[in-house]
Amino acid sequence: MTKKTEGDKVQISRREFLGTGAAAGAASIISTSAGAEPQNTSARQEAVASVSPPSDEQMAREVGAAIPPTDVQSAVKRPGSDLMVEVLREMAIEYVVSNPGSTFEGLQESIVNYGDKPNVMPEFITALHEESAVDMAHGYARCEGKPICALISGTIGLQHASMAIYQAFLGQSPVIVLIGREDFGARQQHTADDIAGMVRSYSKWDATPETLEETLNTLQEAYRQAMTPPMAPVVVVLDAEIQKQEAGDVQVPRFRPPVIEGVSDADAERIADRLVVAKNPRLNVGRLRTPEGIDRAVELAELVGASVQTRATFGPMSFPQTHALCGPGADENYDYVLGLERPGTHASIQNPSVRAFDDRDLMGIGFGNVRPPVRPQRDTSGEYDIVGDAEASLPQIIEAANKKINTRNRNAMSVRTVKHRKANRDARVAMLEKAVEEKRKGWNGSPISTARVFAELWPLIKDHDWCLASGTIFAGSHHAQLWEHNRPYSYLGMYPAAALGYVLGSSTGAGLAAKARDRIVINIQGDGDFNYAPGSVWTAAHHQLPVLNIMHNNRAYHMELMYLQHLAGVRGRGTERMHIGTTFRDPFIDYASIAKGYGMKSEGPINNPDDLYAALERGVNSVLKGEPYLIDVLTQPR
């Protein structure tokens, strides 16, 4: 059953491996690592090369002729899946989101029944589509900087989920995808030799453990892999039999969280020295990993009196937008720029132009991206002076800087801070004075202007803990000027893969994070995106997630409409048929009724701008009580 290949390396399929003595192979693997064995490693190949031929029983299973006796499960007193739940619980996995399948009833039963507090940490969340399940895990991860699990059934579930895994991969979000696998019986057509291979090119790591001990270790390793920068989704294939088997005296291994190291002490000293010596230092803060990282970035900026550039209006986990030090600062001629998950930059935006400062001292700490550059000709290999984790480096830099600060430079920093505070405040007011003049355009228009939606929503949410979960470029991104993004999850950013079908699920996932944290979620929901997998509305209603869905209902795939329109114009063939395939007409879609059908409170369509504020107020009041809500707003196209 083994195959000789070039160089006489032995390769064997997983199915062959199972059939040729899984126990021996698995024992070898466990002895070589913590039990988490990724696919296609030399260790695996060596292990399977030494296994014995299959038994008659194993061969029968291999061809699907063996049916497990029905009374076996009643004899199991300590199912393996109970131990899996213990592992998830110890790793503080808050939710397992799943569209039920027949390859993981062992784990599902344990989640909802096992322990002193069944169905808590993790709680089983019902999704109506696998893509939604992974999108929910993705949305949660963008809020909290840590993973929950999406539980998927076999090859069929994974094919549904694959688009969302791709989004999470490009979004650098830690998501643990668990795939149930059953190699015999009715579900045999849902398995494959290498299930995870389907998504390997856009997941960070995967493993297919063969024993219970290995499964427990693999779950822990999956967490570490997902959380180690650059973060990304990981995949673990869970064998259905292992979930159901008697655990016997198998013990749950002690969980060791990932240890993420920062820059070397020498580099920390060097950076601290420049920050302290610089007369006008600048921090360029990108997307850090966790909320704790943001706290450290704030601490460093305040310590040395540096002005800060943030990405908080572009995505999660960046510097608070209206912090006194955030903004251009009192003087844009920065003499030292430290990038944190962003490169340092020579340029300063000095409206209306961009000015380059060639003599700036620049440095950047970051890991870059798991994906290749968007434009192949762009070489990002030299983007960071120090390829490492910025967040983990911050405590070292702060400690080193603290030692270098004396009375004299502390006074200079204090003076600088006061100047920055005033300059940044003035810059924000100046920006807003321009912005509100733009936003009032079309204020009384019908359909309703997108700016009015954001403007009228703000006073209703600003005093609450809120999260804007949806990408907003298509809706005008008016919040970037009008709202204040000061929390790690204030804005979760655009669709990472620029692909529709993501927002409703990910916003629902943000609702999972919000539910236990007295937070509300705002989702400015494009109508095109909504229709891919609207079942997340039911999930939010069923689990009572505090998500306010506000339809940006322009009744079209509007970007495509404009592209098509332009091409027809270029070809000189007219644009009067451009609605074909790009718009939702004849009939219009009634989103309020859809939501009602799924059990979510809703209203609309709202076309009169004078009716908008009251509707938004009803919606906010509903989610503040923990009840999701949908408002269908007929909007201008953009």
């Binding site: 209206t322 405040r425 924000r428 007011v429 807003l432 004075e433 509100v436 003049e437 936003k439 009032r440 355009k441 079309g442 204020w443 009384n444 228009g445 019908s446 359909p447 202007s449 009015r452 403007a455 009228e456 703000w458 006073p459 600003k462 009008l482 509007h558 970007m559 409409l561 404009m562 592209y563 329109q565 332009h566 091409l567 027809a568 114009g569 270029v570 000189g572 063939r573 007219g574 644009t575 009067e576 451009m578 609605h579 504020y613 201008q636 196209p637 953009r638």
Partner: protein, 134 residues
Amino acid sequence: MTMKKTTLFTAVIALVVTSVAIAQATGDAERGKQAYYDYACYGCHGYGGIGRHDIANQSSGVMVNEQVFLLYLRARGDQNPAFSTQTMPHYPASSLSDKDALDIYAYIMTLVDYPPQVEDIPALQGILDDAKSE
């Protein structure tokens, strides 16, 4: 002059200007409204002339008269194919007749947008006030 008086004054002037402009349009604005929709002009210019590229209030230079408008439609080309939605499609006579174009022109000339001043919009004024008070 108080703000209400300013707004009223602006509205009156706008009405006069608009009336003159409509008088200069020879097309049928009612037909133009349907053509504006059918040809998806709203895609970039909004249903009321406010959008990615504002054309209400005769704010676009190409609206100075019908001839310039027609010339502009016909002369448009694929000026920036890499970002195709940033440029307006061109409309040769084979795809948009002079009559339809002039009807659209007449309709666009009716589009006005005189939103309240910021101080009369509590949401926007509140945002500004909050920033100033920080």
